[in-house]
């Protein structure tokens, strides 16, 4: 098993390296000149040259890549051209704020999606099942900003003014000091992700419930609760983990739009500001971060898949 996991890990590292390359090339291709963006239209050519020199922008491309890559490894993500401070400092607090959103949405949607999917599969063909399927399809069809706006209308402004529609915390105060402002962003992300997990879990569970070993467990007189938890769910988890991983990875990118919508001080906001300011180092750092989340989440899904399958587990022993 460990060999299999190590191989997956090696692949992940290789993919991450490819991502650094792509991110670097992509920022090179961005139109415009960072120095001019920072200094404004009135800047003299001398000052632009001086800033280029200061930022190391006149060095050859490969050297700039290696310098940057070395920085990434040593935890030095460079200097923000806009704020003149180190990128790590700029992002430090914001990563925490975004993680609160991500983890909150991930936990709620995974647990909710698995439970709802299982429940629906157990009542296959009945009204409950059709309702869950229909609703999840409708919600899945809506883009995240539509859901966000709809929630603001429903729960913040017009219908039921319960939750704040924007983040109230002043800069510097941690977002979780006022939990009420987290509700709508987390709810939005949860609603976007849950339908896919529910539908996948329903389909997989339906298949597992029709399998010979579930029928056999019932014919052995095992109580239904144990049949579900011991004989059915473990077999559905493996395939569903892959879908959950894709959804959670999507969250890392989806957070950008949602943070923008709720004026939430996370990395999504920071990314939008950085792109507007042509703050190349920050864009690179955040893109790399989001890619990292993608890779880690998928790696975890692969490991869950291996762990829940005794055949794969045994391959290792050999």
């Amino acid at each position: 098993m460990f060999r299999l996991i190590l191989r997956r890990l090696a692949i992940s590292v290789a993919v991450l390296w490819l991502v650094t390359l792509l991110v670097f090339v992509a920022t090179l291709l961005l139109p415009g000149d960072p120095a001019r963006a920072i200094l404004g239209q009135q800047a003299t050519p001398e000052r632009i040259a001086a800033l280029n020199d200061q930022l190391g922008l006149d060095a050859p491309v490969w050297q700039r890549y290696l310098d940057w890559l070395g920085g990434v490894f040593t935890g030095d993500l460079g200097t923000s051209a806009a704020s003149q401070g180190p990128v790590t400092e700029l992002l430090g607090g914001r990563i925490g704020a975004s993680l609160v959103l991500l983890v909150g949405a991930a936990v709620i949607s995974t647990a909710g999606g698995l439970a709802l999917g299982t429940w629906s599969a157990l009542r296959r063909g009945r009204a409950v099942d059709h309702t869950v399927s229909g609703l999840s399809l409708v919600v899945a069809a809506l883009p995240e900003f539509v859901i966000g706006v709809a929630l603001i209308v429903l729960l913040s402004t017009t219908v039921l003014p319960v939750f704040p529609s924007v983040t109230l915390a002043p800069p510097g105060e941690p977002v979780w000091s006022r939990p009420i402002q987290l509700v709508l962003p987390i709810l939005t992300l949860t609603l976007v992700v849950t339908p896919y997990i529910t539908r996948m879990m329903r389909a997989t569970m339906s298949e597992v419930l029709d399998s010979g070993y579930v029928e056999m467990a019932r014919l052995k007189g095992i109580p239904e609760r144990v049949v579900i938890t011991r004989h059915a769910v473990p077999h559905a988890i493996g395939p569903v983990a892959q879908v959950i991983a894709i959804q959670l990875a999507w969250l890392a990118g989806g957070v950008v739009v949602v943070e923008f919508l709720f004026r939430y001080p996370g990395i999504g906001q920071a990314l939008i500001d950085a792109v507007n300011n042509r703050d190349v180092e920050v864009v690179q750092a955040i893109t790399l971060l989001i890619a990292g989340v993608y890779i880690v989440v998928n790696l975890i899904a692969d490991i869950v898949g291996i762990m829940t399958n005794p055949k794969l587990r045994a391959e290792v022993a050999r």
């Binding site: 010979g212 070993y213 029928e215 014919l219 007189g221 095992i222 077999h235 399958n309 005794p310 055949k311």
Partner: protein
């Protein structure tokens, strides 16, 4: 006086009626009763409702089935009859696994792949409160594993189902069923898919356990030869009704109902009686079938073939020499050589994993790269179909095991049969249509069915269509890969007869791949026995069956159930 009379039967089903959700009847009033220690065989072909009738004894109906009448009562541990279909969910659950146990058809699908086998057996004991402590239950697990002839050590109990062979998996299923010492066991075709040697072991285990514990057993099967081996009484089920019921001896020797007679005569026998009664006369004299060939529509093609066959009487049409195939480290075929002459049928006999399908795939050009040569009419063929000429492809055709998956479900029968003509010959549309109609007639398939999709045909009709597709290009070699094993016995007999007649009419060489030695005298002239990728014995059917020289062949013959 009345009390003993009610408990003479451990399992009693009365007028069971089951419908599908759409109102189509599956069981139309099925009754059976089983005494302690008795084995009742419930015999029927696919779709007869035998599994539904068996599962009803556990109060279980599969999705889409509705119980509409009748009842089942089992004798519980305290001797009182309990009505399985009327008690509450909780009590029914407490009966399942402890009083009435089930042994499924496919052990690979019925064991939870993620749980260790010891745990799966222990689970039944735990649920039904068998034994006072974990230690006592653990002793029982070891004991019951021993009873079914498996190792009872801790290491074996910690294995996962995928680490066992098919026969071992089935014995774990039996151990699980007998763990709580049930009064009734329902066995749903427990030996289908097992090799004959394993089948004999499993049947012996079941016999010993039911006798020893005075268990009433309902044995569901379609295999009458197995029935003769294990059952005391037989109930024959047809379209949801019991058409005949009596002692095994009576039913199999002197069947009263026409359907039972049909089933009994369709069973192939090692001595060659039974299934070929209808075609036996044609077999003895090859000449007698020649008029049949000239009579039929395809006079031109088949007559030409016959002439070629006559000339080349002694040179083999299909010749395989020194064939070796390996999947990585695993050697599937080791230096296999065979010859098949025109008009001759060679039976390639082997159990699962013997490499028999690999061999026929190599001949057809569907296999992996191999060492050795495959030649047809003296011309060596390339290993892959992609490098064979149209003429070479035309000369070797393949009929697959399952007619349910080998015909494209979106193409009509006529389209499927026409396909090889379109790709391998340059006949025009009219000539192709004529040839398709001719071939369908030849396989005794009503040409009116030509426009149907495979879904609208029965299993036997589909296999006829698949054979027609193989014959339409008038091949020199026809490969039949387990063509009868997905079919019911009565259909199997008609397909075997058909293949025999066609071979005689068309004079082609036939390689008949099978695991069922009982078919030998019905189809083949010669036999090659394949084991572990090697031909261990070959010779004429008479030589091999009457005086087998290899230990393995003798074992196979000894383990083949007879009626």
């Amino acid at each position: 006086m009345t009390a003993p009379a009610t408990v003479t039967h451990t399992l009693l089903a009365r007028e069971l009626r089951v419908d599908t959700a759409t109102g189509h009847p599956v069981l139309k009033g099925v009754s059976y009763e089983i005494a302690p220690g008795e084995v009742l065989a419930l015999v029927g072909e696919s779709g007869s409702g035998k599994t539904t009738a068996g599962l009803a004894a556990l109060g279980h109906f599969r999705r889409g089935l509705i119980h509409t009448g009748g009842g089942v009562s089992v004798q519980s541990d305290d001797g009182e009859p309990v009505s399985v279909l009327e008690v509450g969910d909780r009590q029914r659950r407490s009966l399942r696994g402890s009083t009435v146990a089930y042994i499924p058809q496919d052990p690979a699908a019925s064991l939870n792949p993620a749980l260790r086998i010891g745990k799966q057996i222990g689970e039944v004991l735990e649920t039904h409160g068998y034994g006072a402590s974990a230690a006592e239950r653990s002793t029982r697990i070891a004991e019951v594993l021993g009873e079914v002839g498996l190792p009872d050590d801790e290491a074996y109990r910690r294995r996962y189902p995928h680490e066992l062979s098919g026969g071992q998996q089935q014995r774990v299923g039996i151990a699980m069923a007998f763990a709580c010492r049930p009064n009734v066991v329902v066995l749903d075709e427990p030996t289908t898919g097992l090799d004959v040697t394993t089948q004999t072991l499993v049947l012996r285990t079941i016999s010993a356990l039911t006798t020893e514990h005075d268990t009433a057993a309902l044995y569901i099967t379609h295999d009458l030869a197995v029935v003769a081996t294990i059952a005391h009484r037989v109930a024959v089920l047809r379209r949801g009704e019991v058409v005949e019921c009596g002692s095994t001896e009576e039913v199999l020797r002197a069947p009263a109902h026409a359907y039972t007679r049909e089933l009994v005569t369709a069973v192939p026998h090692l001595d060659g009686t039974g299934a070929t009664d209808t075609s036996g006369s044609g077999r003895s004299t090859p000449g007698s079938s020649t008029p049949g060939a000239t009579e039929s529509g395809a006079a031109g093609a088949s007559a030409a073939d016959m002439e070629v066959a006559g000339d080349a009487e002694h040179t083999p049409v299909l010749s395989v020499s020194g064939l070796s195939v390996a999947y990585g480290e695993h050697r599937v075929l080791r230096d296999v050589s065979l010859d098949v002459r025109a008009g001759e049928c060679l039976m390639l006999l082997g159990e699962s994993g013997s490499g028999k399908t690999t061999l026929s795939q190599c001949v057809a050009g569907l296999g992996l790269p191999h060492a050795g040569t495959v030649s047809v009419s003296g011309t060596p063929l390339a290993a892959s179909t992609q490098r064979r000429t149209a003429e070479q492809l035309r000369s070797v055709q393949y009929v697959f095991q399952s007619p349910y998956s080998s015909l494209n479900p979106r193409k009509t029968i006529a389209q499927s049969v026409e396909l090889p003509l379109r790709t391998l010959t340059d006949l025009d549309a009219a000539a192709r249509r004529e040839r398709v109609t001719e071939t369908l007639e030849r396989v005794r398939l009503d040409p009116a069915l030509a426009g149907r999709l495979p879904d609208e045909l029965s299993g036997g009709q589909r296999q006829r269509a698949a054979i027609a597709r193989g014959l339409v290009t008038t091949p020199d070699v026809l490969l039949c890969d387990e063509v009868t094993s997905a079919l019911d016995v009565s259909v199997q007999a008609t397909i075997v007869d058909l293949l025999c007649e066609l071979r005689r009419e068309l004079g082609m060489a036939m390689l008949f791949v099978t695991h069922n030695i009982a078919l030998a005298r019905h189809v083949a002239d010669r036999i090659a026995v394949l084991r572990g990728g090697e031909v261990v014995e070959s010779g004429t059917v008479g030589e091999v069956l009457d005086s087998p020289s290899h230990e393995y062949t003798r074992e196979l013959l000894a383990n083949t159930p007879r009626m």
